[in-house]
């Protein structure tokens, strides 16, 4: 493992650990405990970890060389992409392989607005999420007629539909070459400014998504994931809730897509292809779908490993394949889930041996000291 991405991965783990500590309270609205002091300390620790991570990422954005800061900027936007996808995947139980469509719509609204001189940058950035949400609404109406595997495959077909439209309608979209050029306004040209712009937008968007998952709506969504017939029998309109989740996910995936333009100053058809639709899914799976920070951890691990490995080996895909197989077959709850499981295991064995000898606070997983036992 290289030093170039040790720190951000560690930072991601810290977020995961802090939630693992609270027993996943970050996901469970009102979860944790009734005892307010305990709950307050959990909240405080979670806020502390979040602030610490943000501080680390911000500092890295300033001190890293520009090319590495750009990599980090991209990872941050991908984290948003993965979190927005995970609203469907981990919280809604809907396996969508069509998220690239919304990502691509977000990117192309900005890029085409510039190419056709119809939208200013700011207008395009504001419009992009709503375009993504609108597309998600119509695709959701169709896709949610199916379930499970068929849902995954029909969303994959959407991805390819979007890809071919963008690819073939070259007079409007620039075709397979995509759109590229000086599409950023002058105030965003400085790479450090662009970095913080992407960071702020992503963090705000992720915070909103956290609120959504930690709300009555998020609760009902998780209940549908676990047992849709039961929830249906309690009077919940399952279809309407899933459609709402689909639209929200489309909205924020499009935000992530518009941030891609800030990062790369381009948009191209491959953004919509099914393999790029798969990327946020794999990030969420690697990081862990059932904890809110999971996809963030996954995005950091995935993209930084990608960036690093592509420089040093031709076998990046083999390594990714082996990792994916290992996670999905051996650790289906992903990195964060494994850490949470490990911690509760340590805690339990700690309780069992307490009194005999003091139990150490280490050995809580690869990220080691980040969280710290009480």
């Amino acid at each position: 493992m290289a030093t170039s991405f040790d720190q951000p991965v560690g930072a991601g783990h810290a977020a995961g650990l802090s939630d693992g500590k609270s027993g996943g309270a970050g996901l469970r609205p009102g979860g944790g405990s009734d005892m307010m002091p305990v709950r307050r300390s959990v909240v405080a620790r979670r806020i502390g970890a979040t602030v610490a991570c943000l501080a680390v990422v911000s500092i890295l954005g300033v001190v890293l060389p520009v090319s590495s800061a750009l990599d980090l900027e991209y990872v941050v936007s991908l984290a948003l992409f993965a979190v927005a996808t995970n609203l469907l995947l981990g919280f809604g139980g809907m396996v969508s392989f069509g998220q690239g469509v919304f990502y691509g719509v977000g990117a192309y609204v900005v890029a085409l607005g510039w190419m056709h001189h119809v939208l200013s940058f700011v207008e395009a950035m504001l419009l992009a999420p709503f375009a993504g949400a609108a597309v998600a609404f119509f695709l959701g109406l169709l896709a949610l007629r199916t379930r499970r595997l068929y849902f995954a495959l029909i969303t994959l077909a959407f991805s390819q539909l979007g890809y071919t439209i963008v690819q073939d309608q070259s007079s409007f979209t620039g075709g397979s070459n995509g759109v590229f050029g000086a599409m950023l306004p002058s105030w965003l040209l400085d790479p450090r400014t662009a970095f913080f712009f992407v960071l702020v937008v992503s963090v705000v968007a992720i915070a909103v998504l956290w609120k959504v998952t930690d709300s009555p709506f998020g609760l009902v969504l998780r209940a549908i994931r676990d047992n849709r017939e039961r929830v249906d029998a309690m009077g919940v309109n399952v279809f309407a809730h899933q459609l709402a989740a689909f639209v929200i996910s489309g909205f924020f995936c499009a935000v992530a897509g518009s941030l891609f333009v800030v990062y790369s100053q381009s948009a191209y058809p491959a953004l919509l292809e099914w393999t790029s639709s798969g990327t946020p899914v794999f990030m969420a799976v690697i990081g862990g779908m059932y904890l809110f920070p999971g996809p963030i951890v996954g995005a950091f691990a995935y993209q930084l490993a990608n960036t690093y490995l592509i420089e040093h080996t031709q076998d990046w895909q083999i390594i990714l394949g082996v990792v994916l197989l290992a996670v999905v077959l051996l650790r289906p709850d992903g990195l964060t889930g494994s850490i949470e499981g490990l911690r509760s295991l340590v805690r339990r064995s700690g309780e069992r041996v307490r009194g005999r000898h003091r139990h150490g606070s280490n050995g809580t997983g690869p990220a080691g000291p980040a969280g710290g036992e009480p």
Binding site: R28, P29, G30, G31, G32, S33, K211, V212, D214, S215, P216, F217, G218, L219, V220, R222, A223, R225, D226, N227, E229, R230, V231, D232, A233, M234, G235, V236, N237, V238, H241, A244, Y290
Partner: protein, 256 residues
């Protein structure tokens, strides 16, 4: 005698050429515990599904509180106050116990689209009080999937009660339970029905439960109602004795 809270009129359901429910007329009085019994294949489960909106009737109608609900979908029926507990254990495994009940409260209060967290504390308080009634409050923070079978059944009843139904439909609530769990569940049903003035419709194989807690019993056979009345009347009914009670009292556990 008041007007029935739940009624079926000439309810028919065909599966291919097979008529599972054949012109059933039911009238269930508010505030009563009403048992549906019958041998396997009598059409109890189908009748349940027709009343709760899981299945659509081939013909006929279901009327809840004066409003036709025949053919309405399950969540729309539940919204109107008729909530069911399934025959097989059916919980949200990854949710905690208190969260499971909060789903019902959030739904009943029309807050399920609420993307803001402020409602949570109130919903949580209400959920805990429902859990208190069914005796699960100590397990509030446990994962629903880790509960014992009996506790899961109690949780399901709590989830249904959280919606504040006017009619609670229980499909074999004691199936697979130990005698102690069965007794506790029967007591719970009676106390909830009496304290909330709740109408309970249950299908049940355990005749002790049926005759112990029901105000009214309806007997189905081959998709038709062959008898109905108080437990005493039904027990004495000659046709019932012939087709049902006579062929082995427990009615068998094996289900289709």
């Amino acid at each position: 005698m008041s007007s029935p809270i739940l009624a079926t009129h000439r309810l028919v359901r065909d599966f291919g050429g097979f008529r599972a429910v054949d012109g059933v007329e039911l009238a269930i009085e508010p505030g009563t515990i009403h048992a549906l019994i019958g041998p396997n294949g009598a059409g109890k489960s189908t009748l349940f599904k027709l009343m709760t909106g899981v299945l659509r009737p081939t013909s006929g109608d279901v009327v809840l509180g004066g409003e036709s609900i025949g053919g309405k979908r399950a969540h729309a029926v539940a919204r109107r106050g008729l909530v069911q507990v399934f025959q097989l254990s059916s919980i949200c495994a990854r949710l905690t116990v208190v969260e499971s009940v909060m789903v019902g409260i959030v739904t009943m209060r029309h807050r399920s689209f609420d993307p803001v967290t402020l409602f949570h504390r109130r919903a949580r308080g209400e959920a805990l009080s429902v859990l208190d009634q069914v005796g699960l409050v100590d397990l509030a923070e446990a994962r629903a999937g880790k509960l014992s079978h009996g506790d899961q059944r109690a949780l399901e009843i709590a989830m249904a009660l959280a919606v504040r139904p006017s009619v609670l439909m229980l499909d074999e609530p004691t199936a697979g339970m130990s005698p102690a769990e069965t007794r506790a569940t029967a007591d719970l049903i009676v106390s909830e029905a009496r304290s909330r003035n709740l109408t309970v419709v249950l299908s049940e194989h355990d005749m002790d439960v049926v005759f112990g807690i029901s105000d009214r019993v309806t007997v189905l056979h081959q998709g038709r109602v062959i008898a109905g009345g108080t437990p005493g009347e039904v027990r004495a009914h000659p046709e019932v004795m012939a087709v049902y009670l006579g062929q082995g009292t427990d009615g068998g556990e094996v289900r289709s």
